[in-house]
């Protein structure tokens, strides 16, 4: 089965969903992402859905799950590029995806992730977070 590719950009992971996913593919993405976050020590995940023309409750729940799980793994998730028709439909469906951070596009999403990272570093004080997570740039 084809899997949705996950790109690593520095300490962030980037996923671009461009196909109409069947359930198994979506679940595989969820698994792949969580395992990759753990393996790479990534601190941020950007999910680009600007090509998705439909998001139903299954995919919506999946995205909320990914967001929740990455938070537990100490990574921030941001969902970018939701199309207006999709947003309107999700609202009507009753899904508000609370807890999922969103941004208008990849640029804003990355900006947000970097800023969040910078905040983290400031909080961590003198401790090098890279070293703490065994992460190599």
């Amino acid at each position: 089965m084809d899997r949705i590719p996950i790109l690593q950009m520095g300490e962030f992971l980037l996923v671009t969903i461009q196909v109409d996913m069947h359930d198994q593919l979506a679940l595989a993405l969820q698994d792949d992402l969580t395992s990759k976050i753990e393996k790479s020590g990534a601190r941020g995940v950007l999910i680009d859905i600007s090509a998705l023309e439909m998001v139903d409750s299954f995919i919506g729940r999946l995205i909320a799950n990914i967001s929740g799980m990455s938070r537990i793994l100490d990574a921030q998730t941001v969902l970018v590029g939701m199309q207006p028709a999709v947003a309107i439909t999700l609202v009507e469906l009753g899904l508000s995806l609370t807890g999922v951070k969103t941004a208008l596009n990849v640029e804003r999403g990355m900006h947000f992730l970097r800023a969040a990272r910078a905040d983290d570093r400031r909080e961590a004080g003198g401790l090098s977070s890279e070293a703490a997570h065994g992460f190599t740039e």
Binding site: M82, T102, L104, R108
Partner: protein, 285 residues
């Protein structure tokens, strides 16, 4: 089928005369020249009609607006109706375009078939039936065009009455005026969301100064709009919230879910600029 070909025969033989007589009766109906349509255009339409009618009759099939033999003339009549709408004619005036062809045609039929009473009766009936159906077709096409115009105008009015304006880089404003109903809010919501995407604006100010009342339905619509905006990655400020509206919202128990509200558009703009990282300063003179 033999009957149709008699009218076809007459058309072939006397087409130019028929066209001329038809023009005369059309002009007589309006008492001379009609300022709404040029004489040359009218002449062209009469000529085209008789040409297409002849072609269709010669194909030999009974009149059926959907069949390929009659398609050309049906299409022609629809186009004529459309242009009549634009020229300001009424539906019956448009139908009269067809019906006034009867007089010259029947005169010719009488001339050619006068000796055979039965043939004349059959042919006259066939011709009148055919022309009546075409007349009905033009009326239907006229009405459809009128409806399309009205629909389009309604859409334009809706769009005009709620323009989305760019207040600053990254800040859009949507001044809502008048009563908010379901249909209107939908269209407005969609255009605002699209503008947010198109301009990459992260803040939208929805100003409801011009909205007289806010009931549960309106509040729900506003909330849906705000939720959609947030899902897309932007945020929203609602301005123009008068004390009465604030009261209504509280009484209705509507949860604005942390949406910032401001009394005036000015306050909202000030906040939007601040949030976007701008500082407005006035240098000392």
């Amino acid at each position: 089928m033999a009957q149709q070909s008699r009218t076809a025969a007459i058309l072939t033989k006397h087409r130019d005369d028929l066209n001329a007589e038809w023009m005369k009766s059309l002009q007589a109906a309006v008492g001379g020249k009609d300022s709404r349509i040029s004489e040359s255009q009218l002449k062209e339409q009469t000529a085209q009609f008789t040409a297409l009618l002849l072609a269709a009759l010669q194909a030999g099939e009974a009149f059926n607006a959907k069949s390929s033999e009659w398609k050309a003339i049906t299409h022609f009549l629809e186009e004529v109706s459309k242009s009549r709408v634009a020229q300001g004619f009424s539906s019956d005036e448009t139908a009269m375009f067809i019906f006034s062809f009867k007089k010259p045609l029947f005169a010719r039929l009488r001339q050619e078939l006068g000796k055979d009473a039965e043939a004349l009766a059959e042919e006259t009936w066939a011709a009148t039936d055919l022309l009546d159906r075409m007349g009905m077709l033009t009326v239907r096409a006229f009405q459809k065009t009128r409806e399309d115009v009205i629909n389009r105008q309604q859409m334009e009015m809706l769009e005009l009455s709620t323009p989305v304006v760019k207040l600053w880089d990254g800040v859009l404003a949507l001044p809502m005026i008048g009563t908010l109903d379901s249909a209107r809010t939908q269209i407005v919501m969609e255009s605002l969301l699209q503008r947010i995407v198109d301009t990459g604006s992260e803040l939208a100010i929805i100003d409801i100064t011009g909205v007289p009342t806010v009931d549960t339905l309106v509040a729900q619509h506003l909330l849906k709009t705000v939720t959609a905006i947030r899902l897309m990655g932007a945020d929203c400020i609602i301005s123009g919230v008068r004390p009465q509206i604030a009261q209504t919202i509280v009484h209705l128990g509507v949860d604005l879910q942390g949406v910032t509200t401001k009394a005036t558009l000015a306050d909202a703009l000030s906040l939007a600029l601040k949030r976007s990282g701008y500082v407005v300063s006035r240098p000392k003179v």
